[in-house]
Symmetry: C2
Subunit: 215 residues, 2 copies
């Protein structure tokens, strides 16, 4: 079977988000694969009631697909801390507000989440953690998905101004600084989300290259 | 981009099941696509704690993949009854034993499930229902999935000896008989599981045909 020498046709898909910054971030990752994501015309409310990253990514993609009937990409991600039995996990963005470990009040969500993780890890030897992302492509009843991980440790205090979420307290393996101290390019190169989306992009290119062989 | 004229290489994958009958059934569906599923060397216990068919199929495939480190196919399916708000859904195989609608005792699971659905539909005009299946391929951190549906109605009483589960009380649209009165070939042709696996097979063939294009 010969290699495909023709230039790739660009594939355009919806990104299940209402955040233009996220569209930009994902496009920077996907551009080399000839895939472009676009911002939906309006926000779709999605109840993320799944129990895993895969499920939540699927629920988002499906909700946008059902509203716009266009191939849609979505993702879900979170921080998995060993000594906390995998928490905050799927609760990462609202960890401060859930019962597990006590509610943290009077801060922005990002601050409160970080305070809670640092508090729960106080005095613990094991500060191993990983960011996990699931990126998913859905096109009406069928789809593709890929996971990406970034392993590291929770630092003793927040450092750095970049990124968002838990980035200021996450030091990736092989680095002396936190995720929040990396450039956007460097972060995309090593991040869970970058890995998951590049992996998904390779699957999309394989599936969308040419018509399916029929039996 | 030209058509691929070379014969397809056979793809062999694990089927996340301990049921040799199921291996035979799925192989009959997949043979035209050059895909063969095989029975795992031993059973892996999987807790189906997902909230959707996709999630349960993923949990099964992942559990077998983690045990054998081989590309794995799994499925999950169920009966979705309109007048019961989508129940039995993901609870289809153990519907008789869950609180919703009252527990049904003293019968085989298949019998008890059917008795419960018929009891809950007594006196209801709307007997519309559909079988839904999700077939999923997983290969260590990435995968493909496809859904299949078969729409129809719940009959007033069981008829037919073929199939299993709710087949004796499900009359597919366009048929005068129940799923349990169809031949295995005819059932595969129209069933939710047949549709989902054929759709998944087309995705697998696209992804596994040749090396991925790199950016």
């Amino acid at each position: 079977m010969g290699e495909d020498k023709e230039p790739m046709e660009e594939v355009e898909v919806l990104l299940a988000t209402s955040n233009p910054g996220k569209v930009k971030e994902i496009n920077a990752i996907l551009a080399p694969y000839g895939i472009r994501v676009k911002l939906p015309e309006e926000k779709v409310e999605v109840e993320e009631k799944g129990t895993t990253f895969l499920e939540n990514a699927y629920l988002k993609a499906k909700a946008y697909w059902e509203r716009f009937r266009l191939p849609t990409v979505a993702d879900d991600s979170g921080l998995v801390v060993e000594a906390l039995g995998g928490y905050p996990g799927i609760y990462s963005s609202r960890f401060y507000s859930i019962d597990f470990g006590g509610i943290e009040e009077g801060y922005t969500p990002d601050e409160a989440n970080i305070r809670k993780v640092l508090r729960l890890l106080e005095g613990k030897e094991n500060r191993r953690a990983k960011f996990v992302a699931c990126a998913l492509f859905y096109d009406g009843g069928e789809g593709l998905f890929a996971f990406g991980e970034c392993k590291g440790e929770i630092t003793l205090k927040p450092e750095g101004e970049g990124g968002f979420g838990y980035d200021p307290v996450f030091r990736p393996d092989g680095y002396e600084v936190t995720m929040a101290q990396l450039s956007a390019e460097e972060k995309n190169r090593i991040s869970h989300r970058g890995k998951a989306f590049r992996r998904l992009a390779r699957l999309i290119r394989r599936v969308y290259r040419e018509p399916s062989p029929s039996p």
